[in-house]
Symmetry: C2
Subunit: 413 residues, 2 copies
């Protein structure tokens, strides 16, 4: 594991405001890591709505199965997250472990087990000893304070090189409401759904069904548009919690996602998701370049997405970017292998605004020196114009470096 | 580019017999490389049948388009292959270049342009100056001899670290017929079709349609079951040529692929394809391990193939193998992301015959030291049993090393 912070990390961390109805606490449970926090407990006030989207893996982790089942109730009182062990592919032991964790948490918080949400991240296939939570969660429930989101984000890290938080404040009706989010994830990152663990908290009074609809729509162009290595985790979890505390200050209670009063909120909510998902790409394992791939002129948005993902997941494109080589031939290759409608002779490709190919051949004005200089930037924008239709999409990824191989060739042992 | 031979290269090179009706010659045309041969001319006797399968890329190279069009005639008199420049994504220039090359070759050999087959491999997007073939092909046509397949295989290499040839001799009717094949390919290797350039020659008298059917069936479990990096070239070409010269020694003329007299021939033909495609995996860029992935107990063979390819293309599985880590959790991840039917709790996984997981959890007899020792082998067999049906498939790949990143991060410049 790399100990140095990604060169693509945000230059500053936002101040994270308190959200009424949410209290946080972290601890060192010694599940895998030493001398760092590895358990987060978030305690929510009664009446908190919950929504979630999860990995589409056919082999999901035990906590994912737990959350999916409990989501039907729509209410949450606590979230327990541990890092270091994903409790995935642990068979009956895994299910027993989630049940025991929920039981301990429910007792600590004083609620029903069905109001407990769980997420685990780390190594797959190792049994998770939930008895380690006994005592710890009780102490955390007592210690929990309206609070320190940055420390919470630190407690859920695995190979992440920096904690990921984002916040927004926005008007809902005449009241100000706040949205705080955190995420972890650096590898095994790909749709669908995508990616990692992320938790978003708000004091807005939004009913569970409306919150679920917002979340589902919001991930499409944020977390679902990020890929590090094309590998989809068995544990990907994004949960949103709405305490409703802002109703005391006059925020209207929202029961439908289509409510026009939500407009500004939805925008801010999606910005928090976009901010967090971009931070995940910025912390891609071994990443030295943040890569934005825009495909336009496709038959449809879905077609553009598929082509953009084909480019974003191509090892040859990613290694070329690591080598600061504007190798547009490999971009053509990735367009071609996507299987979507494309006409070689209409393709145009640019790197950081410099067109290198047009109408199916090298741009006549191509200047190797100019392009080489542009490729030294830490952020690379690749734009592909297909010239077929109006479909457009954008995804984020990072380059593929020797450091990625080093991190993942020596992760478990 | 690496100059050292892959540690996975075959220990010996077979003696390649002469095939009546085929003559070969190579030259240094200086297209890209210095001090090495980079052009191959194969001249076939009149009446030679031809068949071909090509990349499924939506952006195929100009030579691929040329061959597809000429295949309709079913007859070949010459094959021209150049390495160093793929003549792909070169627009109208590319089409003009293939036409000019065919014209020069037709004149040199004394045949119709529609009997000329072309293949180019190397950098994409650079115009190929076909005038370099002027003179060269005439000299090659004169110098061509029944021959040196190993030197021919050397002339078509790019990042390959060793030339790839295979041969088989088999009875067709009462006559002995020979099958010789060569291949190149080390990166940008993935179905479908797959992979690279490969040419197979035989003196068996097989009609074009029958040869095409044999080839199409033969690639399915050979070239189409190999992946290096999941990236599909725009130039993948596999051509088969049957001179029919063995008819003079009593080999029966075959007009249908289903002819029962072909049984032994088909087996030998497929063995040559399997041998060549395995050599491609053994020469995967930066490869230190040959990896065979077998999936059994899937719903169907197609489902098994999709799961096996998901494992074979997973950067996390491939880096774990590079790190000699039997990280079966990542195999579960790759099974899960394939999207095919799978039941986590029925999964069993073994590495080199040692079962590490069964019934959805770590094998109770799992011995880390024993598994670690087994992972040091240069050939790793991963077997996944799904326990759902009778679908079974096998694919070949290699590990993902820092060397792969080094080779591809500094290829073009």
């Amino acid at each position: 594991m790399s100990s140095s912070v990604s060169p693509l990390a945000p230059k500053s961390v936002p101040d994270m405001p308190v959200i009424a109805g949410i209290r946080l606490a972290t601890a060192e449970a010694g599940i895998r890591y030493k001398n760092r926090t590895d358990v987060l407990l978030a305690v929510m006030d009664k009446g908190t709505a919950v929504a979630g989207v999860f990995t589409k893996s056919k082999c999901p982790s035990a906590p994912v199965e737990w959350c999916r089942a409990k989501l039907k109730g729509g209410k949450a009182r606590a979230l327990v997250v541990n890092s270091g062990n994903a409790n995935a592919f642990t068979g009956k032991t895994g299910r027993a472990s989630t049940a025991l964790t929920a039981k301990i948490a429910a007792k600590a918080v004083g609620c029903s087990e069905s109001e407990i949400f769980l997420a685990s991240t780390g190594v797959i296939g190792e049994p998770l000893d939930a008895t380690k939570f006994d005592g710890v969660l009780g102490r955390l429930a007592e210690a929990a304070e309206p609070g320190d989101y940055l420390n919470a984000a630190k407690a859920i890290m695995t190979t992440d090189t920096f904690p990921k938080v984002a916040t927004a404040t926005v008007k809902l009706g005449k009241a100000r409401v706040t949205i705080n989010g955190m995420a972890k994830g650096a590898g095994m990152i790909a749709p669908d759904m995508a990616t990692m663990l992320s938790f978003v908290f708000t004091d807005a009074p939004i009913a569970p069904a409306a919150l679920q609809a917002l979340l589902k729509a919001g991930v499409e162009d944020t977390f679902n548009a990020v890929t590090i290595d094309g590998d989809t985790s068995t544990s990907d979890t994004l949960l949103a919690f709405a305490t409703g505390a802002a109703a005391e200050h006059g925020a209207p209670k929202i029961s439908r996602a289509s409510d026009p009063r939500l407009k500004a909120f939805v925008k801010a909510f999606n910005q928090v998701l976009a901010n967090l998902s971009e931070q995940v790409a910025r912390d891609g394992e071994g990443a030295r370049k943040l890569v934005e791939i825009t495909v336009e002129g496709a038959k449809t948005k879905a077609s553009a997405r598929k082509i953009a993902m084909s480019i974003a997941n191509s090892p040859l494109v990613k290694t070329a970017i690591a080598g600061e080589d504007a190798n547009w031939g490999r971009v053509v290759m990735a367009v071609g292998k996507a299987g979507e409608p494309a006409d070689r002779d209409r393709l145009s490709i640019s790197f950081n605004g410099i067109r290198v190919a047009r109408s199916g051949a090298r741009d006549p004005d191509y200047d190797e020196a100019q392009v080489s200089e542009a490729m030294k930037a830490p952020e690379i924008a690749i734009k592909v114009s297909l010239g077929l239709g109006k479909g457009r999409d954008r995804v984020l990824t990072c380059d593929l470096t020797k450091e990625y191989v080093a991190i993942n060739g020596d992760y478990r042992s």
